[in-house]
Amino acid sequence: MRHIISLLMENEAGALSRVAGLFSARGYNIESLTVAPTEDATLSRMTIVTVGSEDVIEQITKQLNKLVDVIKVMDLSDGRHIERELMLVKVKAVGLAREEMKRTADIFRGRIIDVTDATYTIELTGTGSKLDAFLEAIDPAFIIETVRTGASGIGRGERSLKI
């Protein structure tokens, strides 16, 4: 099963490598990992998307909690939550395709954030599957490059992860 795990940790040098090292040392999957400081600059918030049986996920959360730098861990998939990912796509935009690209981006509520004679760079946010759907909707021959942030997640309603 796919799980999305959020955690708060001390914003210290090497903290990220402790988490990454834990996953590789114990053979856990990482589909994506995002991290940045929170509004409190002493804290980092990390979102990890992983896949594993219930037993493995239980071990992952326990092992994460055990890291001395980690303050709190929450498996967002245990309850209602929102997930978002940002993608930037650079596409060829020449001739007829120029109009077509703009239309597809509009349909997916994407924004064109950089324009040249021959290219568009489109910004899209959404769930991972929405981003996948966009990439499927355009002709792969027109894609120059894509960059995705991996998922960030947050609990719905009152559910929150804070210290």
Partner: protein, 570 residues
């Protein structure tokens, strides 16, 4: 007044009441060594290899329960120390290792003797620190000692760049440090405690399985009281030996791969299992699928939540410090109106005594060749069961565990989790320094002892009078045993050719050497070694033992716990 980082390191160690620092100097730690030279609060013990420094600090911690300390230089000093750190990590031993590092401006530039210490040690420490600012040094040292000793103990590395040891700041050593990200749970959940007590009282075929956590958590008195109160059988893991007295009738001996028949059978067939500070290691329960075939309910007490339901699903998890939890359980049991089910328990004991009557550790000392088991039994007699025993890794380790009956915790010092050959002699040094008047013996093999043999020199320098009991079978016996059983007796590279003359070797280092070839000389040799005349001397005993003796019982890798090979079956 401002002082240097080096002085801060030394004063922190003094504030912690450190008695011994085991170490080896080098460029990056010269400032610290200069401060060590000027102080007299603790003693520095100069080892001959950094691995031994960490092992000795580790043994000091195992024997005393206090944090052990090692000090090594950057680069090769650190890489040499890694085996020691990983050994302590696997057995959850509290040590602090201070490592020198190249000056901060040189970090990352492939400087002379630079390694990424924090990176290299990360997977085998409880936590580590790189101190980049001298103002953080004292607080970091305090954190290191707190983290090493609390919760599930473990090694902590503090990496200190050379320029930081020269920088100046005020020295303030905090009495304690709050860490918002580090708060081990120590009290058991009251609801779970009640469920556990209920389950224990309902048990018909109960079993207590106690591990290293009982020793680490100093909960032996509580465990003994609980076992008496309930009248249940108990077994110890290799790491738990001594946590409950081996000579007590309720104690079924060690369980696991080389555990006793009665302990393994009772473990497999019990209906309620109380696991205390033990982690269901693969050497203990064998094949988890086979173990799960029998229905049983499991209560598991451990301070580390990640030890619980890792390899075996449990019914009542209790996260907490074992001493606290057992104290609470004892109180609840004493209040309870019910008593353990007497009739069922009697029937269970009858069954257990039947298993015990197989006498699975029986061996036959006849003929002209010394049986290794016999040496250990005699050692137990000669030392009146009251010595500190360290061991290396191999068959001799298992015979030590099976035949030396440990009645007290912290007397059995060995590497269980990592199984590190070479620990025996430095372990004995750490213990003997902590307890100068105690009898300390290192049970070792002719292969293992050669992995840290250079420490005979350290023993000479500091007059450490340990007794080395070498069970010399001219083989890497444990390897040979597996090759005999599973590789058609093809003994690939497991024969130790060109062994040194250990008697001369010991003498060359300034010690007493003895070679014992005949069974009838075993006891006399041991008595002499432990006699007042040799009390101040290191005695190296080279017992020429049966080359082909194997360790039994044995559960093959991947087999079930009750599928043991017994000596008599061969």
């Amino acid at each position: 007044m401002e002082v240097t980082g080096a002085e801060i390191v030394v004063r922190c160690l003094a504030e912690e009441g450190v008695e011994f620092v085991f170490g080896y100097p080098g460029g990056a730690v010269l400032n610290i060594y200069d401060e060590i030279f000027k102080q007299n609060k603790f003693k520095h013990v100069l080892v001959r290899h950094e691995q031994a420094a960490v092992h000795a600090a580790d043994a000091y911690a195992r024997a005393t329960g206090r944090v052990g300390v090692a000090l090594v230089t950057s680069g090769p000093g650190v890489t040499n120390a890694v085996t020691g750190i990983a050994t302590a990590y696997m057995d959850s031993i509290p040590i602090v290792v201070v490592t020198g590092q190249v000056p901060t401006p040189a970090i990352g530039l492939d400087a002379f003797q630079e390694v990424d210490t924090v990176g290299i040690t990360r997977p085998c420490v409880k936590h580590n620190f790189l101190v980049k600012d001298v103002k953080d040094l004292a607080v970091t040292m305090k954190k290191a000692f707190i983290i090493a000793a609390t919760g599930r103990p473990g090694p902590v590395v503090v990496d200190v760049p050379k320029d930081v040891t020269a920088h100046l700041t005020e020295f303030v050593y905090p009495a304690t440090v709050e860490m918002r990200s580090y708060n081990p749970v120590v009290k058991g959940h009251s609801g779970q405690l009640k469920r556990a007590v209920q389950m224990l009282l309902e048990a018909e075929r109960p079993m207590i399985y106690a591990g290293g956590g009982v020793v680490l958590g100093d909960a032996s008195p509580q465990l003994v009281e609980l076992t008496r109160l309930l009248g249940f059988p108990i077994t110890n893991t290799l790491m738990g030996l001594g946590g409950h007295p081996a000579t007590d009738r309720q104690n079924l001996g060690m369980l696991g791969m080389h555990g006793t028949y009665e302990a393994n059978m009772a473990m497999q067939h019990c209906d309620v299992l109380l696991a205390v500070g033990a982690r269901f290691d693969d050497r203990v329960i064998g094949d988890p699928a086979h173990f799960a075939r029998e229905q049983r309910r499991i209560i598991h007490i451990d301070v580390d939540p990640s030890s619980i339901s890792k390899r075996v699903k449990v019914d009542v998890p209790i996260v907490g410090d074992v001493q606290n939890v057992l104290t609470d359980i004892l109180a609840l049991l004493k209040q309870a109106k019910e008593k353990p089910a007497a009739a069922a328990l009697n029937a269970w004991w009858t069954q257990i005594e039947l298993w015990r009557s197989k006498n699975c550790l029986k061996y036959n000392q006849s003929g002209a060749i010394i049986k290794p088991q016999y040496v250990v039994e005699k050692l137990w007699e000669v030392t009146k069961g009251d010595a500190y025993i360290t061991s290396d890794v191999g068959q001799h380790q298992m015979w030590a565990a099976q035949y030396y009956k440990f009645d007290k915790p912290r007397r059995w010092i060995n590497s269980g989790g990592l199984g590190t050959m070479g620990v025996g002699l430095p372990y004995a040094m750490g213990v003997q320094l902590a307890f100068p008047d105690a009898q300390v013996a290192c049970i070792t093999g002719e292969s293992s002892i050669q992995m840290c043999i250079q420490e005979l020199s350290t023993c000479k320098q500091y007059r450490i009078p340990v007794k080395v009991v070498t069970l010399n079978n001219r083989y890497m016996g444990m390897v040979r045993q597996w090759q005999e059983f599973f590789y058609g007796s093809r003994y690939a590279e497991s024969y130790m050719e060109s062994l040194p003359d250990f008697v001369k070797l010991a003498e060359a280092y300034g010690h007493v050497g003895m070679r014992i070839d005949k069974p009838e000389d075993v006891e006399a040799a041991l008595k002499e070694a432990f006699s007042p005349a040799l009390k101040e001397r290191l005695v190296f005993m080279d017992f020429q033992t049966d080359q082909t003796e194997n360790v039994f019982p044995m559960v093959e890798g991947g087999k079930g716990l009750s599928e043991m090979i017994l000596a008599e079956e061969l």
